[in-house]
Subunit: 329 residues, 2 copies
């Protein structure tokens, strides 16, 4: 199979092709199962959720499950189910986020909300949430359900936090990082924990901490990309998050450097051109490098703190971390 | 404690007071835990979800869990958690339904969506879903998570089905009942199954079938109430569901009797006065009695099919069934 993240992580793809046949085989089963789930609940879900799942991107979260579970005994059915569950939670969140943002496109495909309306999109997201837990229930133990529901709770709390803090010029770096932890890092953490749960002596806590750190870095770099663009790469105008009132680390750090930015009200941005100008002003302060440096430190620390593992798992996880770090490159 | 359904089910309340001290004690723990969950996730949830949980109504679903679990060993902590989980799923659904309907009030309280907007309400519903599974994960086994996620999947599918069938004059009684099964009956079924799971020899399938039948009857009678009112009892105008395009059993049966109704387009209803006139026309066909008779048969069959249980559980379940039947009285 062709890995979804082939283009962005050639070294990881190469390792998986040479030594990761098992992980690639499991990922193929994950894709088949995701397609089955999308097709197995009637026409509305097949039409709308199918697109969302298919357009879900790089499959980074299920890949983390499968790499962490690379030593799982037997046919690793539990690892496949856990990977599917994590991706379904991620897809559910995307569907609901698009409802909230009224987004028309995601990765070039029409969103569920734009194609079918708010009602269908809300119910579709609910269905994907429910199927995630059903998937895990078929083979997961209590601790695994707890890990997934903790992550799914965190996602919802992160969304609430984002709405609560929207447009607020006083959001601190600390508060921003807490939101990233809730919105993004906890699901990466759960992915690694669920994978580790599949193996004897799976180093659950240590792999969870690794997942959390690279998830945090992933979100910070995503927020840097919102400011840097280019639009051809991100699929949206520069500053889209800022236009939505989302106060991200580049803006927070830039405000500490440039007093004119400290008094900028995001509500006053009148459109994409204004947002692009704000992005340029943020870039001029050096805040992007500062945010990027913070993310790269998170990645480096996560790699350094990886527990003792077999050589394949260790190298694969390091290359996932590198792929996250290189998002900005 | 005062039972939430005291007024509507005096015989059940009396039985619980005389012989159901344990169930009442467990219900008190459920209420405390629901309040804890609402308060335990920051200000937005406490404000908005707290109201929804508090206004959640008669607590019929958690009561079913606790009655079915009346024989549970030890402190019945698993039964309390299962009852909390079921009520949280129900609350999540209410919050999302209100988003979809743009409802301003639920049982006299402002809805989350009217108080805080769509974004917060969608995230609040997601949070309640997630907490339901977290609650169950703390003590539930795989089969219990499977039962809850099956019910939660059904709820979402029922919502999708309702949107799919909205305004459609060709919806058959069979298709209507399938929707009720998804939207309502499966969560009642899961409540009974989860309760039975707590006991040795808990007659899981039989109690699940009982819950499914009374859940189905509950929804049919709810749809009858939408047509009969009175508004003082239901808290909404007669025909509110019809105005929303929801094709319910009274309308389906009335259309078979009255050819002028068969050609009525719900989209042509211009407001509450029109909807009330349609309700009167439905009532004139005898469709309400027919729908009610169907519901009462479901309840009678459910009672007759109850498995052999100790006397308290059997009588308590029969009285729950009676309380459902008497919703229309």
């Amino acid at each position: 199979m062709v890995l979804a993240l082939e283009g962005e992580a050639p070294a990881l793809a190469k390792l998986l092709r040479s030594e990761g046949a098992r992980v690639l085989g499991l990922m193929e089963r994950v894709e088949l199962r995701l397609a089955e789930v999308a097709a197995g609940h009637g026409a509305p879900l097949a039409t709308h959720a199918g697109d969302t799942i298919a357009a879900g991107g790089k499959r980074l979260r299920p890949l983390l499950v499968l790499i962490a579970a690379a030593d799982a005994p037997g046919d690793a059915g539990g690892a496949v189910r856990a990977a599917v569950a994590v991706e379904l939670i991620h897809s559910a969140t995307l569907v609901h986020d698009d409802v909230l943002d009224g987004a028309a496109l995601r990765r070039g495909h029409p969103t569920v909300v734009s194609a079918a309306g708010r009602a269908l999109a809300t119910a579709t997201g609910d269905l994907l949430f429910s199927r995630a837990f059903a998937e895990l229930a078929a083979s997961g133990h209590r601790e695994q359900v707890a890990a997934l529901s903790a992550a799914s709770t965190a996602l919802a709390l992160g969304e609430l936090r984002q709405r609560e803090d929207a447009w607020d010029p006083t959001v601190s770096p600390q508060r921003y990082l807490e939101r990233c932890e809730l919105k993004t890092a906890r699901l990466f953490q759960a992915a690694c924990e669920l994978g580790a749960h599949q193996c004897e002596g799976g180093a659950i806590a240590a792999l969870g901490a690794f997942g959390r750190s690279i998830g945090l870095a992933f979100q910070v770099l995503d927020d840097v990309l919102d400011v840097t663009g280019p639009a051809e790469r991100t699929g949206k105008h520069r500053g889209t998050d800022l236009l939505d009132g989302t106060v991200t680390l580049p803006l927070i750090l830039a405000r500490q450097q440039d007093s004119s930015l400290a008094t900028t009200d995001l509500r006053a941005l009148s459109g994409p051109a204004d947002a692009e100008r704000l992005c340029d002003a943020i870039a001029a302060t050096g805040a992007l490098e500062e945010a990027r440096t913070h993310a790269l430190e998170l990645v480096a620390d996560a790699k350094a703190a990886l527990p003792t593992l077999d050589s394949f798992r260790r190298r694969a996880l390091e290359l996932v971390a590198d792929a996250v770090a290189e998002r900005y490159a």
